[in-house]
Amino acid sequence: MANYNLKINGQNYQVDVEDDTPLLWVLRDHLGLVGTKFSCGIAQCGACMVHINGESTYSCTLPVSSVGSDEVTTIEGLSKNGDHPVQKAWDEIDVAQCGYCQAGQIMQAAAFLRKNPNPSMEEIENAMNRNLCRCGTYHKIREAVALAAKTK
């Protein structure tokens, strides 16, 4: 066990966990930030996507020991009132079915649009291909990313 000081959503947290504990489980089990989801545990589906210094990152395979002083952003901290352009677009397009993957999809889309504010449809599809949606909401995700790019 070791102590880690983490910067998450602009706040400082201290946790005492094993150094191989993935950030995902630190967030969920130790800090009560359950918006970041567990699904595959092997960086294949993107349900656990968070931002590390603004870059989308699978948190299920990221050991807490490698986070260091990096800034972590989770879905809870993406915006203050749930009004990030991507969140608003997700609501406007009514993207979700079961919704379990959508926090990860939103985090992926937000990081992508920060780097590429005016993407083509093909670029959107390439970026969002990292995230699985078992309900098959891909058409709506595509539409919502395009809307967020337009409206931000």
Binding site: G82, Q87, D94, Q97, Y100
Partner: protein, 719 residues
């Protein structure tokens, strides 16, 4: 014709009039648009709300509380059910607050999600819930005003007399809730629907998109421990367990062997994932330990077996085949599939003496309670089931295995426990879509008419792998449908559109083969069979011929069937779960390369209650049907699946979905479900389009693993 069940009276019996009446504390301006209007918290609204029936309470503040009883797994019943109540109530939708109801057999009927049945079973009772409450509100207002009820109008939560605003619903809710609900009440003419048929947003959007705790895995309770369970391969039992390494993992508090399970227990999840890998468990056979090559042999034997269960027999098949001008024979097969919802299985259980608290994602809360009661010998009245949102279900959560094991472990530990499954547990722990193989035979006369039809289904734990009274039964003089089943220790279960998720592909591909052998257009061929069934039906028919014809014609029209030589098309139509869906897949050749561009779907599900939800289910069903037909395989080795996570178990992704064009037949029927019916036709439409484009007939799923597919290299893109 499908008859809707009569409304069960009990969910309309009014709760004792004294209920929560009279006392309310709080400050409100009813029906007032003042910017000073106080927005009450959910707790405040719930504490003040007066019960009208199981579904509906109204607060004096005018806030409308609607309970959604059925488990929510993405079908968005939590929005569409309240829409129906609010419609007949003529509520102001912005005042509606929706809550998930816990399991309550006294208040609700058929509180489960499965079989695309929630909508047809609840349509009438939800309408009555809203309409009776509205009647009571108007009655109370009429008494107050000293006028006749017919002189009043309720609109968007306001009661008008001669066009003049009199009361908000909340202002008469106190008096109205004390009245006795009428037995019969006038329901709206669908022409006057204002909420039904509009794209109301999912009531849970904000919670989902900001990361609020909603799902079973998000449940954390005071004093709760976490557990993970290593379950045995199918057909095996535990011989010995060495848990020393697992116990030494920091954060593990206990290792418990119960039945054939080894549970690792601790205060957080990660140590359990590590410890489970450290378990040294030796298993020994406890029945047949099967691999895919066994299944291959068993399926062949079943297809050739002299004995089979006859599911339906019309006319004289043997003679018809003897006299045939042409006989077409084909075999189709599919693998096992995992349901693999994004949220792995999990459940919270707390056994406290003779009481049990269960919380989590289940499609069948009543079954969860019954099986827990049975296992623990605790009266079911002592067991509560609270429903979380479900991160997908697809049929996996119809079972209660993951609930009862949590309850059993809680009892052993004497603690509240949340049992979570890893993805690997979810994929290796059962229960699967059964593996099935079909042999079809058709006899044609010299004019290309189908004179006989034979189908034998062979399945592993598939139950009846046929749908003997479905199309084309009724349209062929001589018909034989048979079933053979192999019982295996590998558990199977309903998987979205059970049986038809594969049968439809096989049958619609085979009918394509028959139509082409008869030198007929595949759409004309199907319509001719329906004509025959309409004019001179053979035996029982369990589908509506006109509704099936309706979707066929609409899909053909909307897809420009056969009109463009450069577009190579495949047709498919299927009736399942009371709804009708026809689909056309479009492939274009681009520099010699086949490109799947579009799927057009025509659906008849009666009234489209919630267009956004309906589009979601049609498109989602097609994406699901396409993904599993094309990409997903599950094979077994010594009682365990070889594919255990998404690196080898391939699910469809964003870049693999074509354009999907969705249309509905306005048939005017009461609404039927859509969770499943759009999935079955998809594989057939795509396989038939691939044949049209390349001459390769795909008879096994997944397509990409077939040798016929290897040099096609089908691309999927929209532009």
């Amino acid at each position: 014709m499908e008859k809707l069940l009569k409304t069960n009276r009990r969910d309309f019996l009014k709760v004792a009039a004294t209920a929560t009446g009279g006392l309310f504390i709080g400050f409100y301006w009813s029906g007032c648009d003042s910017p000073k209007m106080k927005v009450l918290t959910d707790e405040e609204v719930l504490s003040q709300a007066l019960d009208f029936n199981a579904y509906l309470s109204i607060s004096p503040s005018g806030d409308i509380v609607i309970y959604s009883p059925n488990p929510e797994l993405g079908q968005n019943i939590i929005t569409s059910f309240p829409m129906i109540v609010a419609e007949e109530l003529d509520a102001d939708w912005s005042k509606v607050r929706v809550f998930q109801a816990p399991l309550d057999n006294d208040k609700f009927y058929r509180q489960l999600t499965g079989g695309s049945g929630a909508m047809p079973h609840s349509w009438e009772r939800l309408r009555k819930a809203g309409a009776t409450a509205k009647h009571l509100l108007l009655t109370a207002a009429a008494e107050k005003l000293g006028v006749g009820i017919d002189e009043l109008e309720g609109k968007e939560g306001i009661i008008y007399h001669n066009g003049k605003k009199q009361f908000g619903y909340g202002e008469v809710a106190g008096e109205a809730a004390k009245l006795t609900a009428p037995d019969d009440v006038q329901l709206k003419d669908p022409e006057n629907f204002k909420i039904i048929g509009t794209p109301v947003k999912n009531v849970k959007n904000k919670d989902m998109f900001t990361g609020m705790p909603l799902y079973g895995l998000d449940v954390y309770r005071e004093g709760m421990v976490n557990a993970m369970i290593q379950r045995p391969p199918f057909g095996m039992k535990i011989k010995s367990v060495d848990d020393s390494a697992a116990r030494s993992v920091s954060g593990v508090t206990d290792v418990i062997v119960f039945k054939n399970n080894v549970a690792v227990v601790g205060n957080s999840t990660w140590p359990l994932i590590k410890a489970k890998r450290q378990l040294r468990i030796e298993y020994e056979p406890d029945g047949s330990v099967e691999s895919s090559f066994d299944h291959d042999r068993i399926m062949k034997e079943m297809l050739d077996s002299k004995t089979a269960q006859v599911m339906r027999k019309d006319g004289d098949v043997d003679t018809a085949f003897k006299n045939a001008a042409q006989v077409i024979t084909s075999e189709y097969q599919c693998p096992f599939l995992s349901h693999s919802p994004m949220e792995p299985q999990n459940f919270f259980a707390h056994v406290k003496g003779d009481k049990v608290e269960l919380i989590g994602p289940t499609q069948t809360p009543d079954r969860a309670r019954m099986e827990t009661a049975q296992l623990l010998g605790i009266p079911k009245e002592n067991i509560t089931v609270e429903l979380t949102r479900l991160g997908g279900g697809f049929g996996r959560r119809l079972r209660a295995d993951f609930v009862v094991e949590a309850a059993e472990l809680s009892k052993i530990l004497d603690k509240p426990v949340k049992v979570s499954w890893t993805r690997e547990d979810d994929m290796t722990g059962g229960a699967y879509r059964p593996a099935v193989r079909y042999r079809f035979q058709a006899a044609l006369d010299e004019n290309g008419n189908m004179t006989a039809y034979k189908l034998r289904g062979a399945g592993i734990n598939a139950g009846n792998s046929t749908r003997e009274n479905n199309f084309p039964s009724g349209s062929v003089d001589n018909l034989l449908i048979e079933n053979v089943e192999h019982r295996s220790p590998i558990t199977t279960n309903a998987w979205r559109a059970p049986i038809t998720n594969f049968l439809a592909y096989a049958e619609q591909s085979f009918l394509d083969e028959v139509a082409l052998a008869a030198k007929k257009d595949p759409v004309e061929f199907r319509l001719a069979l329906l004509d025959r069934a309409k004019k001179n039906p053979v035996g029982e028919i369990h589908y509506d011929i006109d509704r099936m014809r309706g979707v066929i014609e609409m899909a053909a029209e909307k897809s420009n069937w056969g009109k463009n030589k450069d577009v190579l098309q495949g047709f498919s139509v299927y009736f399942s779960h009371r709804s009708y869906v026809a689909q056309v897949a479009d492939i274009v050749m681009d520099g010699g390369q086949a490109v799947l561009k579009k799927i057009t779907a025509a659906t008849d599900c009666g009234v489209v209650v919630h267009p956004t939800g309906a589009n979601h289910q049609v498109r989602g069903g097609i994406v699901d049907g396409m993904g599993h037909a094309m990409f997903t395989n599950m094979t077994f080795e010594n009682g365990l699946p070889r594919q255990r996570n998404f690196d080898t178990y391939r699910l469809i992704r964003m870049k693999e979905v074509p354009e999907i064009d969705v249309h509905y037949v306005d048939s005017g029927y009461d609404p039927t479900g859509l969770g499943e019916p759009a999935l079955p036709p998809t594989g057939g439409a795509i396989a038939n389009a691939i044949f049209a484009a390349t001459g390769r007939r795909l008879r096994s799923q997944p397509f990409i693993e077939q040798k016929e597919f290897s040099d096609i290299k089908l691309e999927i893109r929209r532009t």
